[in-house]
């Protein structure tokens, strides 16, 4: 049964040094507040999984929390490269980091396999692609019925998944709307899950019968953190802060500037600060 608690407690009880952790969000509903709490709590030696590691992974990598990253597209969406990730891969700063790189199709299938309780995912992919030469976890299986050679990758089974969503009801069911990305699979693939939400409402009586809902018994913890995905967005609540993504490119370009920004905006901040960060973005919706 999902437990309503503070983000601080939820992170402390569910994320441990050395964990395989996913902070998912496919350009939408990215759990920034949860990642910032993990940074404040100083977790180490994490293996971070994410289809599209962006600003929060850049931040956790730059803060030295990450042993290994498993991903399919590591960029600042629409802006360019991730400068802290590049510094780690190209210059081993702040320390060397292992990478396991896939395609989106592989990661999406691997999460789905994880959610399905399967050991691996099978799909038609990686044909002629060099990733299979550099990633030993990309292998092949032959279809026993047709003989077709297909790609296989291990399923993703995080110790813990963090996502942001629009709403929970008082029972602890979670509603995800808009670009749902990989949110559902990432939660169901994980041993534990922490969901930050924009608001807690009485019930979901007015929700469409086919809506994407995670029942309360499939979620470990729920934390009400309004604005908790800023500068990403929450469909129906506030829009994406594109200027902040552009700004990140400058902040992350310099090690000292990065550290100063992290102190002011993350280490010395709280989950409650997120609400004010989206106030101007709500108005224009």
């Amino acid at each position: 049964m999902a437990k309503f608690q503070s983000l601080k407690d939820a992170v402390a009880e569910n994320l441990f040094d050395g964990d395989v952790a996913a902070f998912e969000g496919f350009t939408h509903l990215i759990p920034h507040a949860a990642a910032h709490e993990a940074i404040r709590q100083g977790r180490k030696d994490l293996t971070l999984v994410r289809m599209t590691p962006d600003v929060i992974y850049d931040q956790m990598i730059g803060m030295g929390m990450v042993k290994k990253a498993i991903f399919s597209y590591a960029g600042n969406p629409g802006v360019g490269l991730l400068r802290r990730l590049r510094d780690a891969v190209e210059n081993q700063w702040p320390h060397p980091m292992e990478i396991e790189e896939h395609s989106h199709a592989a990661m999406a299938n691997a999460y789905e396999a994880g959610a399905s309780g399967l050991p691996c995912a099978v799909f038609r992919g990686y044909k002629g692609a060099d990733l299979k030469k550099v990633n030993p976890n990309i292998r092949e299986v032959t279809c026993p019925f047709t003989g077709e050679v297909l790609a296989a990758v291990p399923s993703v089974r995080p110790d813990v998944t963090f996502i942001h969503a629009q709403k929970a009801n008082k029972r602890g069911d979670v509603l995800v709307e808009g670009i749902i990305g990989i949110q559902k699979e990432a939660v169901l693939a994980a041993k534990r899950s922490v969901v930050t939400v924009e608001e807690v409402v009485d019930n979901f009586d007015d929700v469409h019968p086919n809506a994407c809902i995670l029942p309360n018994w499939a979620v470990t913890a729920i934390c009400e953190v309004p604005g908790g995905s800023h500068p990403s967005y929450a469909h129906g609540y506030y829009i994406r802060d594109n200027a902040a993504y552009l700004e990140w490119d400058k902040i992350a370009s310099d090690r000292d500037g990065f550290k100063a920004w992290m102190k002011d905006n993350v280490l010395d901040a709280t989950p409650e600060d997120f609400a004010s960060r989206v106030s101007a973005l709500r108005e224009s919706k």
């Binding site: 692609a129 060099d130 594109n242």
Partner: protein
């Protein structure tokens, strides 16, 4: 020769003309996204545009900054999960055209968006493939658009992120692929088609005001030109106005918080 349009505008408009109402197009961000939306706003209003965030049949008023901007979902016929996108719609063979950009491209349409230099000790670590490896193999055919440069159009790419025609000829069939692969390259200077046998990209039309030398000087391989080289028709007033309005709306929307 004085032109009243830029080379970038010509590139986008030439690329938009390659798309039709019947197409189901998987759209890459950047130049492909601009071209696909100009097509939708001019001659192909019924084109189906799909972004990998799961938005199917989207019709954004401004160009998205990322493949998952909220407006893509707001204007879509339906929005599906990412696994569904890649399994049912892409792998299922329902997408006719994949429209990609490239950091590095070779003459056979192979694309690198992963690393410059050695994979384990890269000179520049790029974002990686994202959806491209399977877009390149699962879409009916692939269109590519990019600005020409010696850094971008190279004799040998550093990493095969997505497979075009390999070393040419029947390379795709030999890997068991049944899709056509790259069938069109639109740069800021020219339109290129693969040679029917060798699959090497060959210039079939130069954009207005462009010379063969200009194409060669910004391309890292020895360029082949078709015997009967054509000139790309200039942008029409409607095409230019549509593109400029789209760019102006996009700039206004992305420049400030609360956009």
């Amino acid at each position: 020769m004085e032109l009243d349009f830029t080379r970038d505008e010509m590139m986008t408009i030439a690329a938009s003309r390659a798309l039709g109402n019947e197409d189901i197009c998987f759209v890459g961000i950047g130049a492909p996204s601009a071209a696909c939306n100009v097509a939708r706003l001019t001659h192909a209003p019924d084109i189906t545009l799909i972004y990998e965030s799961g938005t199917i049949g989207t019709a954004p008023d401004v160009l998205p900054l990322s493949i998952g901007d909220g407006e893509l979902c707001d204007t879509a016929v339906t929005t599906v999960s990412v696994p569904e996108m890649f399994r049912y719609w892409l792998q299922g063979g329902r997408i006719t055209i994949g429209f990609l950009g490239a950091a590095q491209l070779d003459k056979f349409g192979n694309i690198n968006t992963t690393v410059i230099g050695d994979y384990d000790a890269p000179k520049t670590r790029l974002p990686g493939g994202g959806g491209a490896p399977e877009i390149a193999s699962s879409c009916g055919e692939i269109f590519i658009t990019m600005k020409q440069s010696l850094r971008g159009m190279v004799d040998k790419i550093d990493f095969f992120t997505s497979f075009g025609h390999g070393e040419g000829g029947n390379a795709r069939e030999e890997l068991g692929m049944t899709t056509k692969g790259p069938t069109l390259l639109i740069t800021d200077l020219a339109i290129w088609h693969p040679d029917p046998v060798t699959k090497e990209f060959t210039v079939i039309a130069l954009h207005p005001g462009v010379t063969r030398d200009m194409v060669q000087e910004t391309c890292g391989w020895k360029v082949k030109f078709a015997d009967n080289l054509e000139t790309t028709p200039e942008p029409t007033e409607l095409e230019l106005a549509t593109l400029r309005d789209l760019n102006a709306r996009t700039k206004a929307a992305h420049s400030g918080a609360g956009a």
